[in-house]
């Protein structure tokens, strides 16, 4: 039994890094995602195309490939042009890649949320003399936010799990901790059982929260 507890403990020692990366990546993801959403809804064709390509590229390639391109590829490219650059800390590169990757998904979440608000809401706001920006700020965005929130929380959960692949660039997060311990002790079974357990302690409460948010949203939607 002790060996299992040890496995959990080892995995837990990486949780700060996992959460740190996820949290900052989500912040970047939401900030960039907002721009992506607005870009994709733009009436200017070139802007729209640019952001559509951005989203397609990021959603169409595996995260691990994006990580390798930025962490290993970019420094090599820069050295080729005589710039001495390498990532001091793989965590920084990880946050950046995960944030950019997430922005593609978050952008689509925000866009669909904004577009899910009834068209009549914008018309009502405009007919009351509000400008486009005021209508967005006071009427559309607050309503879209409630639609978006559960999906955003789901994205947070998905991203948290995806950070496991950062172990390949030696970020010492939850999975990497377990891998190192398993390699040193040959206790693969308790090691990775512990890893799974640790992820579940975060993802289960979060997905319960999502379910709660969705229930509450369904209630407030009734009879608008």
């Amino acid at each position: 039994m002790d060996i299992y507890l040890k496995g959990i403990k080892i995995a837990y020692s990486g949780i700060a890094v996992t959460i740190e990366i996820t949290l900052f990546a989500v912040i970047i993801g939401v900030a960039l995602g907002l721009i992506v959403a607005l870009g994709k809804m733009s009436t200017l064709k070139p802007v729209k195309v640019l952001f559509s390509v951005y989203v397609e590229l990021l959603r169409g390639t595996p995260l691990i490939v994006q990580v390798l391109i930025v962490y290993a590829g970019v420094p090599m490219l820069m050295q080729k042009y005589g710039i001495d650059f390498r990532w001091e800390d793989p965590v920084v590169a990880s946050i950046l890649v995960c944030g950019i990757n997430s922005s593609a998904y978050v952008g689509e979440i925000i866009r669909s949320g904004l577009q899910a608000v009834d068209k009549g809401q914008m018309e009502a706001a405009r007919s009351l003399g509000m400008g486009h920006f005021q209508a967005m700020r006071f009427i559309i965005v607050p309503q879209a936010f409630r639609i978006i929130l559960p999906a955003l929380a789901n994205e947070f959960i998905a991203l948290l799990k995806e950070t496991a692949i950062l172990s390949v660039i030696s970020v010492v997060e939850v999975t990497r901790r377990s891998m190192l311990w398993a390699a040193a002790t040959f206790e693969a079974w308790p090691a990775y059982l512990g890893t799974a357990f640790v992820y579940l302690t975060i993802t289960i409460p979060l997905s319960r929260l999502v379910a709660y948010l969705e229930r509450r949203m369904a209630q407030s939607d009734r009879g608008k």
Binding site: Q121, E123, A124, L128, G129, Q134
Partner: protein, 240 residues
């Protein structure tokens, strides 16, 4: 007060308005009737530019509004609009629905806006609903709240786009009563409606539209009592 000349509107290839010219004067109550798809709502929505006319001119108080460098937000303050589906803001209470625009657009203080809003709620008989969200109002109450919201901007003209079409029959009366009161106070009103009895009672003038044009117009007595055009006759024989 409102003048439209040779107003046309196309959605893609579909020509919804085929050249409408009409003048609506101050204090006038005009009801627009006609079959579905005749362009009634589009005509109304062109007046406050929720739909941009494809061609033609719209004048409010003598100024053309459908051209560049017109501050449409300023114009829309003069034009209150009431929608078929109410379009109340579901995340705001009844009171907040009414005060948001006076506070944000007209920069009224919150206290002042709320005082005025309460007077309007009193007028439409919803003073005890100030704190509740639209979800818990009945259809008739929602529409009365929406009318109060439009009035809060002190419009010179009120546009009604089938205000009772989405209501259960027993709630139509309360909304029409509020509109009747408004008409008696001298508000200039353009009402797209299927309530023929109401149009007959309150309208100064009735416009009958079909297939994107105003086919016939006149006093309620003329239109309902002695229609001249075949299409008007046929429409009225079906709905009366």
């Amino acid at each position: 007060m409102i003048e439209v000349s040779n107003l046309k509107k196309q959605f893609g290839k579909l020509e919804v308005l085929k050249g409408i010219s009409e003048t609506i004067t101050e204090n006038e109550v005009v009801c627009v009737i006609g079959p579905s798809g005749s362009g009634k709502s589009t005509f109304l929505r062109c007046i406050n530019l929720l739909e941009m006319p494809t061609s033609g001119e719209v004048f409010i108080d003598g100024d053309q509004i459908n051209k560049k460098d017109v501050d449409i937000n300023k114009i829309r303050e003069k034009l209150g609009m009431v929608f078929q589906n109410f379009n109340l803001f579901p995340h705001k209470t009844t009171l907040e629905n009414i005060t948001i625009s006076p506070i944000q657009v007209n920069k009224l203080s919150k206290a002042e806006a709320e005082k005025e809003a309460m007077e309007l709620l009193q007028m439409v008989g919803l003073q005890d609903k100030a704190g509740v969200y639209p979800a818990s109002l009945s259809g008739g109450q929602k529409q009365r709240a929406a009318i109060a919201r439009a009035l809060a901007m002190k419009p010179e003209i009120m546009l009604f786009d089938e205000p009772t079409s989405a209501l259960d029959p027993e709630m139509v009366g309360e909304v029409l009563q509020v509109m009747r009161d408004l008409a008696h106070r001298g508000m200039t009103m353009v009402i797209v409606t299927h309530e023929m009895g109401f149009a007959r009672e309150v309208a100064d003038r009735v416009l009958f539209m079909d297939e994107g044009v105003i086919v016939e117009q006149g006093s309620p007595e003329e239109i309902f009592g002695n229609p001249q055009n075949e299409r008007t006759k046929s429409f009225l024989s079906k709905v009366l």
